[in-house]
Structure formats: structure tokens, C-alpha cells
Symmetry: C2
Subunit: 495 residues, 2 copies
């Protein structure tokens, strides 16, 4: 029992797998809670290669700093206390032990389950001001893409301090490409945004985790560079998403004019009640309702695909990580040894006092140096190609780790609708209620399909780009080595 | 005590290092005997990479077979019994435990020491019929090279049997390029030749060991091929040596006409008394006697050079062996994993039901297959380049392992001559005896210099050839990989 639990504890997919058998909701919910500490960015297993990770520091200045106004977060989300960590907000996500967790939406036993019912049975369903349109395009249901897109450049990390220098932190400059205006944010602000996005959109849209929090080491500059690169990737991802990028909370994060506006916006976002499954109430697909069979099939297909891709991505990360270690560790050391051995041999040869062998000895020395150069090339190469392949797969692992929750929400809704006839028969709900439920679960399915179409189009673009880059860089790498070897060869006397 | 002895037991150089300090001959002689089981072809340390070595077999058909006439070997050489192995001839050289030993010339306590005196003090010094001329050429003392050289092609290994099929063995066909006539020989015949050459020339000329004897495995064909390749290298080496190739024993080995002639020649060779240091009696350098200071300097220089080169060669063999293991083991496995991971990912992608991604998925699949091809290329490459580098270094390790004995003989002679004045003063020898000693030690020095010049010219040629080949093959290898990657890259759709 215990060992099987342990082996699945790290896999967010376990809950969903279980959900397809057994007695449905209760079993799933229970499994969920067990697995709520599952971590998709576990650095021990799939974390980034050692090159980027210094030893974990006990303290992250950028984080330990309290919020200015800790009471501004609505009580309904923050009453939960993580029993193990006493983290007041249950928000502790990444830590040095690799026991990071996502915002535990499913840890609110009284919330998630009624959440589905609340959305499916609300009468009337209040339509929020902030709409999320779903249309039917060439590829099926899709989000509406804004006519002009923008990116956000994360740059210029600066050390700031407060409390008379007692607390220091790193502040990044964020500049939107459409407005060309800049705002400054610390890591903990990103983390706040991530949390808001997850709470608001997490049932419909995968929100990948931010880079790990507490991994900070001796090479501070290297660490800051790496974190900035990942924050940049995360921001670009968010800017690329038509729903996220257009959302009020996201826009406010990028476009506040002063401290006061930022705080007002922050409080407003934290009071937003259109969160969790209620986000679907903002959607109005312009299309006829789907039938239940199709809805269930689509949901299962998404589950199968994302689970399979999660496995594939993890496999690639595992082998990539192994390859990274070899390329930056034993392999260049070996080339260095070959280089040294050749140079030593030439040195010995030069003591022979035999005439006319100096050309050979110089050539052997150069060949030895060439192998030392190859050692450096080999050691540096992963940063030029494997790094990007790894980063992309990390990002996707982050996305994919969100799907068990998304699919869980959809399956929960589907189960509810399946019970509808019984509820009507026992007069617990009306026929109209049942019709509403069908319409709303259909909306959820449209949303899921729209999101999957967005996901697929991004996936195709991203993997095409990153594998092309990888192959191009690898080819160049081998060409460079071959060229150096030919140069070394050219120095040998012809006998 | 014991541990320091153990650590030096494998290094033939220990004896020589010791000889330069302490009380000379006696100490050296003692150390020698301790180290007589030292092995320069120890497969555990510097043996050929695993690819060639199957697990050792308990029995080597090619060897266990007794000689037809075991009594034909002169008693003076064969009375010694190895106390550990009870090998009647003390000839056991290579075995599966890596405790191979050379013909233990120094294991005859009553022989080696008088040997030097016997040569230095013989009156008159009988000049054998078989002369070994030493001349002074452009590079100093040198052997006379025959006007026409020849090689000997080892080919066509055939299984033979005798005793009504109870004993079977492998016979190789040896064809001299000058006569174009062939003779057949079994491994044990090569071994007999090696033994004769070592006994006859071992004080003047390094005779590298034959390939290991008892390393035979399940892949018999592979083993025979490897052994033949190494016998070929050994024969070519011997044919290239002006003294060895012209010697009666060597010529007889290659040119006997029938079984009877072979046996007669064999018996004659075994009765040859011009062996050990007495081989120098066959030499008549056409040059004035060298002075003792020069003789000693030359001898020390040879000692330093060959010791340093031995270290250099061993270093290259160690790193080469390590590299061989990586290239044939973990590295291709990793490329295979990368290939499989890419193909798996493409397989998952193809289940997305999203339109228009089949080009990408095919390209990723092909990229995956390319990495599988790269895995094979990587695994096969060492046979195309590193193999030859290793073989050449093995050969030189064999040569270099002979030098402690050669230098030991020279140093022994030098010590004797240094004692000459005292011996003259105590009337143990005459002034004429002393003059003879000086002349003879000078002859030894000319011989050593001639052999070193032969050694250097071969070394320069061999290392130039093999490193060129290595670099050329390595460059081609990397070019092939780059080309394959570019092909894979070309299949990706441009977006």
C-alpha cells in the first residue's frame, strides 16, 4: 500500500487514471488530496541539469519578504493551512527539497465539488462583465485571437532593498512591446500573478509554473540570468495566450501607472469571484450544444493525449538530463585526457635526440591541443542546443501537469450531468435545470477544445522551432570538430 | 613492504630504477627475480578493450597440445621450474588472470650474471659464423639494412586436428613476399620462435610479446581474426628488423621445405649457444672504441627515454581504453535513447487529431532515426580508428617492456668494467683482459645505439601513420554525423 502510494505521489496523472475506474468522484477526490503535493518541476527528477543549479540556499531574499498588506487576500482562499509546512497561504510551491506543489485548488474539500454544481446549477447564471468568447474556426472551437499581439520583455534585473537595507531583492523591468512602457516587478509579484491566473483560469487553461523559487546558489549572477530567462519564457507564453493576455488581472500587472494603482488592482483581482469552474460562466460559445457522447469522447481524448505527451516529454527530459551530464562531465574530461596524453607523448618524443622528428612532435602537440579544444566545445555545446530543447520540454511538462486538474473538472461536470435524470426523477432539480446543465457542460467542452487547439498550434510551432534549432546547432558543432581535426591532420608531415 | 612490492610487481621498470641506487647488481638481480612475473600485456590494466576479449576459456586447444618431441629443448634453459605454475619450461606467458610473464632469462641465478662476465672476459672470444654487422651511418651507429626487404603475410587460418580428431588447433598460412612460398604454423610455433628470439637477441633487441595466449571466447571467429591480425603485426615487425629478419632461426621458420627440415632446424636453433649477452660476440662495429663516460651516458639516456615513453604509451592506452568503453557502451546507448524519445514523441503527436502536423511528425521521426544511426556510428567508430592507435601503442608497450632487461645487461657490463682496475690490481685479471672488456662493452654500446636508431626511425614512422589515420577517420566520422543531421534538419517544415 505505502510503496505504491509513494511511487505515484509524484505523478499528477495518478488521480485521473484512478478517476476512470472505481466509484467516481469520491475516490478521485480522495486520491487528489493524497497527491496534492505532486510536483511537476521536481528538480530531483526532472529539474534542470546541474549547470544551472547551485546548492539550494536556506533563504530566498526575494521571497521571504512579507507582503505589504498580508490581509488583502480573500479569506475564502487562504484559510487553508498546509499541515506540513504551516505555510499560511498553502502557497509554498518550489523548495529545495523538490516538494513543490501547485496552488491546491483541490485541497478545499468544501469548494471544488460544490464548485462544479455551483456552475452547472446556478440560476440564473450571472454572466460576468469580462467575457471569454469561443468561436468555431477552421480547426473547430477556438478562442478569439486579438488582432494585435504583444510580448513583454523581461530585462535589467536590479538589486533593490527596503527597511533601511535589511531586506534586499531583485527587481526586473517588464516592457510591453505594444505600449513600450515599463513596470518593475519582483519574483514574488510574478508568483502572485501566477497564483491569480491559476485560481481564475486553472479549470480551463493550463498555467505553467514559474521557475523554481528557492533554487539559489553561489553563482548569483548565473542564477539571476537563468531565472530571468525563464520568467521571460513564462511571460511570453502568457502574452501569447488570447484569454490570459487579454484578462484584466494580466493587463493590470503590466500596465499599472503607480504604486497606488498597482495595489488597487491587486486588491480587485484578489476579490474576483469568477474563479475555478465559474470561469466557464464568462464563455458563450456561438454554437449549438454538443451531445454528451461527443463531450465525453473529446474529454477522454484530451486526457489520453496529454497523458501520453506527458510521458513522452518526461522521457525526453530524462534522457536529455543524462546526456547533459555526460556532455558537461565525463566526455570532455576524456577528450582532455586524450589531448594531454598526446602532448605528453610528443614531449617524450622530443627528448629522443633523434634528428628530424620535430615536425612530427609539433604536429602531435597540436593534435593534443585540438583535443583539448574539442573538450571545451563538447562541454559548452549543451548550452547552445540541448538547453533550449530542455527548456521547451520543461515548459510543456509544466503545461501538461495542469491537465489532470482541468480534465478532473470536466469529468466532474460530466458525472454530474449523468446523474441529472435521477435528480429530475427525485425532483431534486427541474427539467430546466437539466437543460441548463447540458448547455453548461457543452460550454465547458467548447472551452476545452478551444484550449486544445491553442495548445496544439503552439506545440507544433514550438517543437518544430526547437528541434530545428537543436539539429542545426548539432550539425554546426560536429562540422566545427571535423574542421579542427582536419586542421590538426594538415600539420602532420607526409612520409 | 608487501603492499609496495605489490604495487611495483607489474612494472618492469622497477628493477632498473632500483639498479641506479643501492649496491648495484645484487640488489637489482633480486628485484628482478621478484618482478619476473611482471607483465606488459596485462589485459586487466592495459589489455585490449573489451570488444575483442571474450571471457577467458579454460583451455586453449592451440596450446595445450604437447610438442611432438618435448626433449629437443636444451636442458640448460629448461631445468628451471616455475614454482607457482609448475610450467615445465617456465614459459607460460599470457593467461587469463593477467599474470603473464616473459621468458625468465633472469630467473636463472647461475646464468645471467656469469653471462656478462663470460662475454666480457672470454679468451679468446669465439666469433660465431652468423655475424651481426654494426656500421656508422648518418644517424650514428646502425644495423646494416638488407638491400631487399620482405614481409610475411599471415592468412587463411584453418582448423587442423590430430590424434584421430582428439586434438584440434588453428593453423595459419605464412607467405613471404620475396619468395612467394608458404609454410603453415600454429600459434605454438610462433611462440617457439618468440622464445628463441628472446633467448638469442633479448639482451640487445626488444622482442615484443606475441598476442595473449589464453584469451579465447565464445566468438571464436572474432578471436581468430584478432589473433591473426596481431600475429601479422608481430611478423611484420620482425621482418622489418634487419638483424631479426636475417637471422638463421627466423629464416628457417619461414623457409623450411618439409616437416623434416623444420624439425632439424628447430633442433639446431635450440642448440644455438650464441644467446643472451653472447649475442654481442657476433658484432664487430667498424669504429673506434667508445670511452666509458659516453657509454654510460648513452645507456642512461636510453633508459630515461624508454621509461618516459613507456609512461606516455601507458597513459595513452589507459585513456584510449576508457574512451573505447564509453564509445562502445554508454554513449551510443544514450544516442539510441534520444532517438527513441524523439520517435515516441512524434508517435504521441500523431494522435492529436490536429490537422496539418504530419510533416512535422515525420520529420521528428526521421530525426529520431538519425540519432539511432548516430548511435551505431559512434559504437562502430573505435574499430575504424582507435583500434589502430591502441594496437600501435600495444606494440610499443611490448617493445618498451623489454628495455629494462636490455639496459640491465648493459649496466651490468658497465659495472663490471668499472671494477676492472680493482681486479687488475688484485691480479684477478690481466691488463689485456681489461682492454678486452673495454672493447666489448663498447661493442655493446654501439649495438644499443644501432638498435635505438632503428627503434626511433620505426617509432616516427609508426606514430605519424597511426595518428594521421586516427585524425583522418575521426574527421570523416564527425563529417558523416553532421551530414546526417543536416539531412534530418532538411525534412522539417519551414513555418
Amino acid at each position: 500500500m505505502d510503496s505504491s502510494h509513494a511511487s505515484s505521489a509524484n505523478d499528477p496523472w495518478t488521480s485521473w487514471d484512478n478517476a476512470t475506474t472505481g466509484d467516481g468522484w469520491a475516490a478521485r477526490q480522495e486520491t487528489r488530496q493524497k497527491n496534492s503535493s505532486s510536483n511537476n518541476w521536481d528538480p530531483a527528477t526532472f529539474g534542470h541539469p546541474q549547470a544551472y543549479q547551485g546548492p539550494a540556499a536556506a533563504d530566498d531574499d526575494d521571497w521571504d519578504d512579507d507582503w505589504d498588506d498580508p490581509k488583502s487576500t480573500p479569506a475564502s482562499y487562504l484559510e487553508y493551512k498546509d499541515p506540513e509546512t504551516s505555510d499560511p497561504a498553502g502557497l509554498q510551491r518550489g523548495n529545495s527539497r523538490g516538494a513543490a506543489m501547485k496552488i491546491p485548488l483541490n485541497k478545499f474539500p468544501g469548494f471544488a465539488k460544490p464548485g462544479v454544481e455551483q456552475y452547472l446549477l446556478a440560476k440564473p447564471l450571472v454572466k460576468p462583465k469580462e467575457k471569454i468568447p469561443v468561436i468555431i474556426g477552421d480547426y473547430g472551437p477556438m478562442w478569439i485571437y486579438p488582432t494585435s499581439t504583444f510580448d513583454c520583455v523581461v530585462a535589467d534585473p536590479k538589486k533593490g532593498s527596503k527597511m533601511y537595507g535589511l531586506k534586499s531583492y531583485i527587481e526586473y523591468q517588464l516592457t510591453c512591446t505594444n505600449t513600450n512602457r515599463s513596470v518593475n516587478h519582483r519574483y514574488k509579484h510574478f508568483d502572485w500573478l501566477y497564483e491569480r491566473l491559476l485560481i481564475k483560469f486553472g479549470s480551463a487553461i493550463p498555467i505553467p509554473s514559474l521557475p523554481d523559487k528557492q533554487v539559489t546558489g553561489r553563482f548569483e549572477e548565473e542564477f539571476i540570468k537563468m531565472r530571468m530567462e525563464r520568467l521571460q519564457a513564462w511571460m511570453t507564453r502568457m502574452c501569447r495566450h488570447p484569454v490570459i493576455s487579454e484578462s484584466e488581472v494580466f493587463q493590470q500587472f503590466l500596465n499599472f501607472r503607480d504604486e497606488k494603482e498597482w495595489k488597487t488592482g491587486k486588491r480587485k483581482a484578489e476579490k474576483d469571484e469568477i474563479v475555478g469552474v465559474m470561469v466557464f460562466s464568462a464563455m458563450e460559445p456561438e454554437a449549438p450544444d454538443l451531445d454528451m457522447i461527443e463531450i465525453e469522447q473529446k474529454c477522454d481524448a484530451v486526457g489520453r493525449f496529454t497523458k501520453a505527451m506527458d510521458d513522452g516529454v518526461k522521457e525526453l527530459l530524462t534522457v536529455g538530463n543524462e546526456h547533459w551530464k555526460r556532455c558537461t562531465g565525463p566526455l570532455p574530461k576524456e577528450y582532455q585526457k586524450i589531448g594531454k596524453a598526446l602532448q605528453n607523448l610528443a614531449l617524450v618524443f622530443s627528448t629522443s635526440a633523434y634528428q628530424g622528428e620535430s615536425d612530427l612532435n609539433e604536429a602531435i602537440t597540436e593534435a593534443g591541443k585540438t583535443y583539448e579544444e574539442i573538450a571545451s566545445l563538447v562541454a559548452e555545446q549543451p548550452r547552445k542546443d540541448l538547453h533550449f530543447l530542455m527548456e521547451t520540454n520543461h515548459e510543456y511538462k509544466g503545461f501538461l501537469g495542469c491537465f489532470p486538474d482541468i480534465i478532473g473538472a470536466h469529468k466532474g461536470a460530466i458525472e454530474k450531468v449523468k446523474e441529472a435524470d435521477k435528480l429530475v426523477a427525485t425532483s431534486k432539480i427541474t427539467s430546466q435545470d437539466k437543460q441548463n446543465m447540458l448547455k453548461r457542460v457543452s460550454t465547458m467542452s467548447y472551452a476545452l477544445q478551444a484550449e486544445m487547439n491553442h495548445f496544439h498550434s503552439n506545440r507544433i510551432y514550438d517543437y518544430n522551432s526547437v528541434i530545428r534549432l537543436y539539429l542545426e546547432q548539432q550539425a554546426q558543432f560536429y562540422e566545427t570538430i571535423a574542421e579542427k581535426l582536419r586542421q590538426a591532420l594538415g600539420r602532420f608531415p607526409v612520409m
